[in-house]
């Protein structure tokens, strides 16, 4: 085991490009040029784990070793940011609660069925947040509700299923929500578990958004949340994923992106809807709707 004062292997600009291209081809994640240092740091433990001397050897391992599929997953795992927390981007969530949910309640009143997809759900906070908002609205009790959380990383999904969270996940959650929807984990030193009735609405699965056909596993949904995921993709990959979302959304269904993301230059398949507190995207209805989006 390398001592900590031993210099870590350095990543040459060439290794960086080769590894970056490999990862990009696999899952569309584009590591920015100025992130070479970050890539070096995050992958160094993989070299150590595999007993490899340098990044060139690691690249060859990813290309040729029998375990390359699993290792590519581990590399993507190390490179992706899984940063997430409950009630992230509250303004958008307020728009969802105040304006979209009443609309969805009316629209789906006949079927009493509602489907959400949290695409790139990380450790599950976003999917559970949606379920909590649905519960808190009191509009959908007795409905057939499913929130699908999917992510490329298997490890985050394990955590999502466990549904136990520590303080870093709770940093934005309103206290009353926390009180209502969580129970303490026994012997878990302050950790909290999502309450059973919320969990009953949420299911998780592994899915690479860029793998052709992978999204077949997800049914038609009313709302897609894909927040802070596509920021790591290049435009071509974003377009590809947006086509998937378009297919999966029912006509009139909504697409919610992170607040720094937009569809400029990417897709004309969605219309921008101005809500009172936020902007969201919508798959247009086949017949021009009467409302222009502005109430």
């Amino acid at each position: 085991m390398a001592a900590f004062d031993e210099p870590r292997p350095q990543m040459s600009p060439e290794d960086f490009r080769l590894l970056r291209d490999l990862v990009h081809a696999h899952c569309g994640i584009l590591v920015r040029e100025d992130m070479q240092f970050v890539m070096e740091r995050r992958l160094a433990p993989r070299l150590e784990a595999l007993g490899l001397e340098d990044f060139r050897a690691y690249y060859r391992f990813l290309r040729y070793a029998p375990e390359r599929r699993a290792e590519l997953e581990a590399a993507v795992e190390a490179l992706t940011t899984h940063e997430t927390y409950f009630y992230r981007e509250p303004q958008q969530l307020r728009a969802l609660s105040d304006e979209l949910l009443p609309q969805l309640q009316r629209k789906n009143a006949r079927t009493r069925r509602l489907r959400f997809w949290s695409a790139g759900c990380s450790t599950g906070e976003e999917a559970y947040t949606v379920a909590m908002l649905l519960k808190a609205s009191g509009r959908f009790e007795g409905w057939d509700v499913e929130v699908y959380g999917t992510d490329i990383s298997r490890r985050v999904l394990e955590a999502a299923r466990r549904a136990e969270y520590g303080p870093s996940s709770m940093r934005a959650i309103p206290p009353e929500v926390q009180q209502r929807f969580f129970v303490p984990v026994s012997g878990g030193a302050g950790r909290l578990r999502v309450r059973e009735d919320v969990r009953a609405w949420v299911s998780f699965g592994q899915l690479n958004l860029l793998e052709p056909g992978a999204a077949q596993l997800v049914p038609q949904v009313d709302v897609v949340l894909c927040r802070n995921v596509m920021i790591y993709f290049d435009p071509a990959a974003r377009r590809q994923v947006l086509r998937v979302f378009h297919d999966k959304l029912v006509p009139g269904g909504y697409l919610l992106l992170g607040h720094s993301e937009n569809l400029l230059n990417l897709s004309a398949d969605f219309e921008l809807v101005h809500l009172r507190t936020d902007l969201v995207y919508r798959r247009p209805e086949p017949i021009a709707p009467a409302t222009g989006g502005r109430p």
């Binding site: 085991m1 900590f4 600009p13 060439e14 490009r17 080769l18 100025d34 992130m35 240092f37 970050v38 740091r41 433990p45 150590e48 784990a49 060859r60 290309r63 040729y64 070793a65 029998p66 940011t81 899984h82 940063e83 450790t123 490890r155 985050v156 955590a159 466990r162 136990e164 520590g166 303080p167 870093s168 012997g187 878990g188 030193a189 950790r191 400029l264 230059n265 004309a268 219309e271 921008l272 101005h274 222009g292 989006g293 502005r294």
Partner: protein
């Protein structure tokens, strides 16, 4: 204005077919739209046109439309997006009769950031109009030409009577990392309007007197000045080699220590400053060594580009700060947690076991791995049972094995004995592998038994462990395991054979080279090279031209070790569709100087950038001056920056740089 009408115009431009007739006109009209969203989408559209260079002249014309501020700004944005294609048009504009237009040209060139514009801008510093000269001086900082011509043109402006000009020149020199000498910067610190900029410039001044001056700025009452000084400190810290870091920190500490507000100010800078300010605040915190800064320092790790600085600062704050942080670890956002964890692992001491044990029950990804690594470095027997219990954990087992190996460095006997006992009770692949690395011959009976286990993962691990121990009988064990029905076991057997090498290894490896499993074949190729199996050479040679890139690459490496390469073989490898094989041919060809130089020349035109770069490096090593013209020709047509660098270096080595 109706939102819907705006949306329609927006969508029309977004969906515009760039090849259609009238596309250019539609975009030009869009630049004049009343909505900024529409203007922006129009500005983005020009680069998609079939012949974007044709848009330059009309865009430049829009810049001249007085009263159309929105359209002019949008046109400027469009020109920036056109990149170097806009250069000729903008050069022309720099000579326009109207100073407004000349200023516009300079601003756009600065944003466009092409070093090719530098000579034009240097000339334009002679413009009769002051505003234009200021814009030009600013733009020179943006085009990134770090050369003497640029520096030589900007430096004299520092003594200009015009404050704006002095400021623009100073900012640009700093941006380019070409600061004036200390003797010039020091007086500028006295000039109120230039002070903050002058402090930033100090970050790049390499003279020893820069640091004490800079330290003074750290204590300034003005926040802008303090932040500039912090930024400069960050730049200095990046530049200084680790060995000299201590001296830098000592002098900074000297300047900061007396100031009662310093910790509060650093906390503020760590939390709210720009990235470069935060980097400087981390360097200052490392110098100050105030443990109260531990948490704000740790939080700065949220920005991963600062992770190295965060780790360094935490190390300086000492083990107590780190132990305290262990209890905060799970409350930190993941990137910050990684930076703290790294240091926690390094400073792990027997005293930290308690905190680390708590982390093992966390479920968040990454935290438990950190805890395992810290235990491995704790030099404490208390860590032993914790690690042994983790050996059969599917996620943590391998890490626990490595941690045990680390622990055994100082505690060999107790670790070995406890590990053997634990594996007797419940063998696990990670545990057996670890036995191979730290165990003694006493472990052999257990390993032999495990090699007959019903679980293929245990069989494979046991085989590798026996070979690792260098035990007698490993070859025999491996031989029989080549008939195992599980590919993973056969792979392990092949690896074991390569390690122990034996009289019969050759024949066995020849058989393994034909195994149905690709992984077994790959392992056999590597093993053949490792144990010097000359009898495998014909089979390996056949693989070099084969379809499978991985096998071809490994075969080349093995043949190199076996000294069984030939120019003909290298030629075949150089035609392989897999770039790794081609590059391996160039590397393995070192003993055949003349032939490999010819190969490399041919590869300067290869479709892949990495092959072209490898060819350039090979030529730098092996070729004589005769390769010069080929390298020069390649440089002239090479679009890729990395390859250009390799070519330039090769030319330099040939004395043609």
């Amino acid at each position: 204005m109706s939102a819907q009408a705006e949306e329609l115009r927006y969508q029309a431009l977004q969906q515009l077919d760039p090849a259609a007739r009238g596309a250019l006109e539609a975009l030009l009209a869009g630049l004049h739209d009343e909505s900024w969203r529409v203007r922006r989408i129009a500005a983005e559209g020009f680069a998609r046109l079939a012949a974007p260079e044709r848009a330059v002249a009309p865009l430049v014309a829009v810049l001249g439309e007085r009263g159309e501020t929105g359209a002019r700004n949008a046109a400027a944005e469009a020109l920036v997006r056109l990149g170097e294609r806009a250069l000729p048009g903008l050069r022309g504009l720099l000579a326009h009769a109207d100073p407004d237009q000349r200023k516009f040209a300079a601003d756009i060139l600065g944003q466009l950031g092409s070093a090719r514009a530098a000579p034009d801008l240097v000339r334009a510093l002679a413009d009769p109009d002051l505003n234009v000269r200021v814009s030009v001086a600013e733009a020179l900082g943006g085009v990134g030409a770090r050369d003497e011509a640029t520096a030589g043109a900007l430096r004299p402006l520092l003594s200009s009577p015009e404050a704006l000009l002095r400021l623009a020149a100073l900012e640009s020199l700093t941006r380019l990392g070409l600061p004036p000498p200390l003797g010039v910067v020091a007086p500028l610190l006295e000039d109120g309007r230039l002070r903050a900029s002058a402090y930033r410039a100090l970050g790049f001044v390499e003279e020893p007197g820069a640091l004490p001056l800079l330290a003074r700025g750290l204590a300034s009452a003005s926040r802008a000045v303090r932040e500039a000084a912090l930024e400069a400190l960050g730049a200095q810290a990046r530049r200084v080699p680790p060995a000299q870091r201590g001296a830098l920190e000592a002098s900074v500490r000297g300047a900061l220590e007396g100031d009662p507000q310093v910790s509060a100010r650093l906390t503020e800078a760590l939390e709210t400053g720009e990235l470069s300010v935060r980097a400087g605040a981390l360097a200052a915190a490392a110098a100050l060594k105030d443990p109260a800064l531990a948490l704000p320092v740790a939080r700065a790790g949220l920005e991963e580009r600062l992770a190295g600085e965060v780790a360094h600062a935490l190390r300086q704050l000492g083990p107590e700060a780190c132990d305290a942080l262990a209890s905060h670890l799970v409350a930190l956002p993941p990137p910050a947690r990684a930076a703290v964890g790294e240091v926690l692992v390094e400073v792990a001491s027997p005293a930290c076991i308690g905190a680390v044990r708590g982390l093992l029950s966390e479920t968040e990804p990454g935290v438990r791995e950190l805890a395992v690594r810290a235990l491995g470095r704790s030099r404490s027997l208390e860590a032993l049972p914790l690690l042994l219990a983790l050996l059969s954990d599917p996620d943590l087992g391998a890490g626990a094995g490595r941690a045990l190996q680390g622990l055994s460095a100082g505690l060999q006997v107790p670790v070995r004995e406890a590990l053997e006992r634990a594996q007797e009770r419940e063998p696990s692949p990670a545990g057996l592998r670890t036995l191979g690395r730290v165990g003694g011959s006493g472990a052999l009976p257990l390993l032999r038994r495990s090699a007959r286990s019903a679980d293929p993962a245990l069989r494979a691990a046991a085989l590798e462990a026996v070979a690792e121990l260098g035990a007698d009988g490993a070859a025999e064990l491996a031989r029989y395991a080549l008939a195992d029905e599980a590919a993973a076991v056969r792979r392990a057997a092949v690896r074991a054979l390569g390690r122990v090498g034996s009289a019969q290894a050759e024949a066995l490896l020849q058989r393994a080279l034909r195994d149905e499993d690709g992984g077994v074949r790959m392992a056999a190729v590597e093993a053949a090279g490792e144990c010097g199996a000359q009898g495998c050479v014909p089979l390996l040679q056949a693989l070099v031209a084969g379809e499978d890139g991985g096998l071809a690459w490994a075969a080349l490496a093995a043949l190199g070790r076996l000294r069984a390469l030939s120019p003909a073989l290298l030629g075949a490898a150089a035609r392989h569709p897999d770039a790794e094989v081609v590059k391996a041919a160039l590397e393995a060809g070192a003993p055949y100087t003349a032939e490999v130089a010819v190969l490399a020349q041919g590869l300067l035109g290869h479709a892949r950038w990495d092959v072209r770069a490898a060819a350039a490096r090979t030529l730098a090593q092996h070729a004589g001056a005769a390769a010069g013209p080929a390298l020069e020709a390649a440089l002239a047509r090479e679009p890729d920056a990395l390859v250009r660098e390799a070519l330039t270096q090769a030319l330099g080595r040939l004395g043609r740089g």
